[in-house]
């Protein structure tokens, strides 16, 4: 369900950007999403569809690029990806890890159509 609150934040940013760039409609939004956020793509799309009704982004396509979880070991400095939910350094077995990647939630790009009214 957290997809809905994230989409709310995303839409706010999309609407602000659209207004600033004088977009009449937004046709696509591309997100960069870290795996640590445990986002379910289908739920995200559903939330986006539902929440964007009546906004400039209604009907826009939502693209997501996922970023793997990347940790750095505080003991030996080894950097590795976590894909099996085991947060243990595969090199030295230490658990003092620093998250380097995987918490992203970024709008990488969006596309839309200009408003002719702003072109006077």
């Amino acid at each position: 369900m957290h997809e809905f609150s994230l989409i709310e934040n995303i839409l706010r940013t999309v609407e602000e950007t659209a207004q600033r760039e004088h977009l009449r409609t937004v046709t696509s939004v591309k997100l960069v999403v870290g795996r640590m956020r445990q986002i379910v793509p289908e739920t995200m799309r559903f939330a986006f569809e539902a929440a964007s009704k009546g906004t400039v982004a209604e009907g826009a396509a939502l693209h997501m690029e996922f970023v793997p979880i990347r940790m750095r070991c505080g003991a030996c400095g080894h950097e590795f990806e976590v894909d099996d939910r085991v947060f243990v350094c595969p090199q030295c077995g230490d658990t003092d890890l620093e998250l380097k990647k995987g918490m992203e939630l970024l709008i990488e790009s969006m596309e839309g159509e200009d408003s002719w009214r702003s072109r006077s």
Binding site: H2, S5, L31, R37, Q38, V86, F87, T95, I107
Partner: protein, 213 residues
């Protein structure tokens, strides 16, 4: 590239520097509905209010039931009804903090909305997230909700007095926490039997001392 949670993050950073300046410890309690957050708070307030100025921000999806339970303790409480939203955001915390006299406050407890996902994702400017996870929820929570167990600075395994009645395997649970976050300190607690509570108070005390420098 635009960071979607930037405005929440900016507010959270402002809160963190305010708390640092005022030397106030803010603890963000996160756990499932029914894991024992409110009872834990009640015991904690009873124990510590003679020594520390305590205030509570109570986050609730709806109703003021939890806030009412705490009202008898004669401490400042601000209730934030999120109207269905599953977590607290930093902007509402900023508003709530403005209602407290921070000069006479040492610890602000935030009881977040009962949920293991969203509250872990939204920084509210606290110095420490505390995960409250109870034996009645089963052993699989750390693996299912890794973000909370990674973000937390302290884990209370609550309702340990019920473990044997609900076939909770403490060893399995602790092993699974270790896989997610091997550096996370764990207190096996029960607000009812009093188990682990002294450790919990001692930890809070050490956090306050550290903050005062």
């Amino acid at each position: 590239m635009k960071n979607v949670l930037e405005s929440n993050q900016d507010k959270a950073d402002e809160i963190r520097s305010l708390l640092k300046r005022e030397k106030v410890l803010m603890v963000n309690l996160i756990g499932s509905p029914g894991c024992g957050k409110t009872t834990l708070l009640e015991r904690t307030i009873e124990k510590l209010k003679a020594r520390y100025g305590i205030a509570v921000i109570e986050g609730d999806v709806a109703t003021d039931r939890d806030a009412r339970r705490l009202q008898g303790h004669d401490i400042p409480i601000v209730l934030i009804n999120t109207d269905g939203a599953c977590h607290l955001e930093s902007i509402s915390i900023q508003g709530a903090l403005a209602e407290f006299d921070l000069a006479s406050t040492d610890i602000v407890f935030v009881e977040n909305v009962g949920n293991l996902v969203c509250p872990a994702e939204f920084d509210i400017g606290e110095q420490a997230k505390v995960a409250v996870s109870s034996t009645t929820e089963g052993e699989d929570k750390p693996e299912k909700y890794p973000l909370l167990f990674r973000e937390a600075k302290m884990l209370l395994l609550n309702k340990v007095d019920l473990a044997e009645h609900v076939d909770f395997d403490t060893e399995v649970y602790l092993e699974s926490v270790k896989k997610i976050n091997g550096t996370l300190p764990i207190i096996e607690s029960s607000s009812k039997s009093g188990a682990g509570m002294d450790q919990w108070y001692a930890w809070l005390e050490s956090m306050v001392t550290e903050l005062r420098g």
